[in-house]
Symmetry: C2
Subunit: 413 residues, 2 copies
């Protein structure tokens, strides 16, 4: 089998090919629907945020200069001239020696540059406030424009919007958000033995599994999965099904029959579509070697191995980054967007040099130490191995394995 590897590609090479596909087109969504979508344009703030300086504490707004040198033993005394309300912009100014009560969130009046916390003050008679702490200019203040300055780019195109970015949109009143469309992805499963999940399999048949796991992984990565049914292991049927799916979808993900001949049928079927170019036929990945990538027009067709376990690993390793790329995500191939967990390997794991291995592992929590990562063995056609796994251990191409006790990063599935 060694010689097969000569024509196969590394994961990095495949990622570079995936990165050449362009993001899908752009639309707008209401900002309440914007969470986890990808911004399609740089967003510029139309206003300062905060629009004026605000207090981050309950206390007295003052000019810091008036507190200089104040201490427990040597307080300063200021005149409290007003009470600021949290929902009113103060319409007065402080002169030297004056202060004003300010609640958390309240806007500072003219003449104030800082706030002394109420804990360091006392209200004496006749509006006099004893201040027992020296504050610095800006202390306990959220400065005008500190979150965003008017005219400034506050979020870049390609940013996936988290709850905190949604909060920024809210604060700035950006109710209509330019985002990339969710890529519409056609899911096809091939295999003469497959029946839809609703049917009772006849002897020799099995229910289609990959369509549903692949769809779930497409959706998790921000795509919109569209089930386009089962296709027989037949070149013409497959050519027709893929060509039709390409008409109104942004990408096609096939999970193929896994037997030796099936890959060739898929290749031939794809080549028969005008404008098709086979970019990848075989990857130095285990599981996942018989993966296929084609470009047809400007759209990607990803052919996954038929084995359920292999299909899921390839979807996670390459299919999900492709979905994120199509969705315009600036961090589509950035591994830090994935969830990782540091662990200690529970036993030696061997690996063949010249391919990247993904070993399924189960994590066992250990008080006071890293979790233990136990390799889950079993054939990649089984569902059990992924069901019992918490994540994947990656072993690089050049490594021959990883020793028991090694600290490893587990990619959580």
């Amino acid at each position: 089998m060694r010689q097969d590897f000569l024509e196969t590609k590394s994961r990095k090479e495949v990622e570079a090919l995936l990165a050449e596909f362009a993001p899908v087109s752009v639309g707008t969504v209401d900002f309440s629907e914007a969470c986890w979508r990808v911004l399609a344009q740089d967003l510029v703030s139309a206003e300062d945020l905060p629009v004026g300086s605000r207090s981050s504490m309950d206390g007295y707004a003052l000019s810091a200069r008036d507190s200089f040198g104040a201490s427990e033993s040597n307080p300063a005394y200021l005149e409290c001239i007003r009470t600021i309300e949290v929902n009113r912009f103060p319409d007065f100014s402080l002169a030297s020696g004056e202060c004003a009560w300010i609640p958390t969130g309240g806007f500072l009046p003219q003449g104030a540059d800082s706030v002394v916390m109420v804990e360091y003050t006392d209200r004496l008679g006749g509006g006099t406030i004893e201040v027992r702490q020296s504050v610095a200019p800006g202390e306990n203040v959220m400065a005008k424009g500190e979150d965003a300055a008017a005219g400034q780019v506050v979020l870049r195109a390609g940013t996936r919007l988290r709850p905190q970015e949604v909060g920024l949109l809210a604060a700035l009143g950006i109710v209509s958000v330019p985002v990339y469309r969710r890529p519409k992805v056609a899911i096809l499963s091939t295999g003469d033995e497959l029946v839809p999940v609703e049917e009772k399999p006849a002897p020799g048949q099995i229910r289609d599994v990959n369509s549903y796991t692949v769809a779930a992984l497409v959706e998790e990565a921000g795509g919109e999965a569209v089930h386009c049914g089962l296709v027989k292991d037949d070149r013409e049927a497959l050519t027709e099904a893929v060509a039709r799916a390409l008409e109104d979808h942004d990408a096609v993900v096939l999970s193929g029959g896994s037997s030796k001949g099936t890959g060739d049928v898929t290749i031939e079927a794809l080549e028969a579509i005008p404008g098709a170019e086979i970019l990848v036929h075989g990857i130095r990945l285990s599981p996942g070697k018989p993966t296929i990538l084609a470009r047809i027009g400007d759209k990607p067709v990803l052919g996954l191995p038929g084995q359920a376990g292999s299909a899921q690993v390839v979807m996670a390793v390459l299919g999900q980054p492709l979905m994120r790329r199509l969705a315009g995500d600036g961090r589509a191939f950035d591994e830090s967007v994935r969830s990782w967990r540091r662990a200690r390997l529970a036993r030696n794991v061997g690996s063949r040099q010249g391919r990247e291995d993904y070993v399924r592992v189960r994590l066992e929590l250990h008080k006071g130490d890293l979790p233990l990562a136990h390799p889950v063995m079993g054939k990649s056609g089984l569902l059990r191995t992924l069901l019992q796994s918490d994540g994947l251990l990656r072993i690089p191409e050049e490594a021959e394995g990883v020793r028991e006790g090694a600290e490893v990063d587990i990619w959580i599935l």
Copy 2:
């Protein structure tokens, strides 16, 4: 302020209180909608999966005994009597000395217990197969029932269904899945200074941020967020709004004005609702100390601090586990469901003993070493600190800080 801590609770104590709320009621969803939902009943397999033993390779099905001792220099010779098709259950048996061609995924005939890979065989004339490897019983075979045995519990109630569990449902033909309803969560923001995001704030007013970030965090944790509007900082208005929200929601999340007096108004407002019990008023958490938890009837009301940064941290630390608990998730408080990343702290971080600190950090990737975690400083009323952060560093109550260079686990937001 120290004395306040006497009546406050630790995070662990609050988690124990949250765990006492019962999950919401149960429904069913079509399995195509089941991903990331929580299973409400144990699922028992009605059939063996696989329903018979299947090959995990292309090769020849045989009785392992017939290959014993076979090697490159000393092959065994078997008679290939049939070709198994991937979609037909073989209707014949193998006798001793016989084998049958089998594709990956094909079912083994009676009399076969293993498969020899095609790479270790040669087809000689007249149907004779040269076998150059000795195989063990079960080799290259996915055994009948290996994924699931008929009558066995295959998934437990409380399991959150990942793509691989959806695959198992598909394989077993379980199209209608008993799951917990998504908890319906009323989101209320209080504060005289707040205006809805669609409005232009008058001087002194600001747009409501927390409703939207909190809603996004509720949805991320599996809840259904329902915006119930803005409420004035007024005891009666708040009592009425919460009481009304409790009528047709499973929980209420309030994010309060952050000034000193507001917490008391919230407490009084909640206490005025019949059946209310204040469980928590203050948590040894920073940010997040002024958090409130009440039980009204059997429903939780969570009062978050008003500062945007504090509200998000408390939602992540306690609000999301509560949502998962209400959604029936058996791992609601299990920290391993969160995304963590091992990193090296870029500088000393101090912390006051007696409270659990959550320090926002930005991660900087470092080739060949752990990422560097840079603390992001800034007031918790600012949005910027969370926008610039990749995650949170937790410093336990008993610690006084963490030293520069320490290996730490960063909780990715």
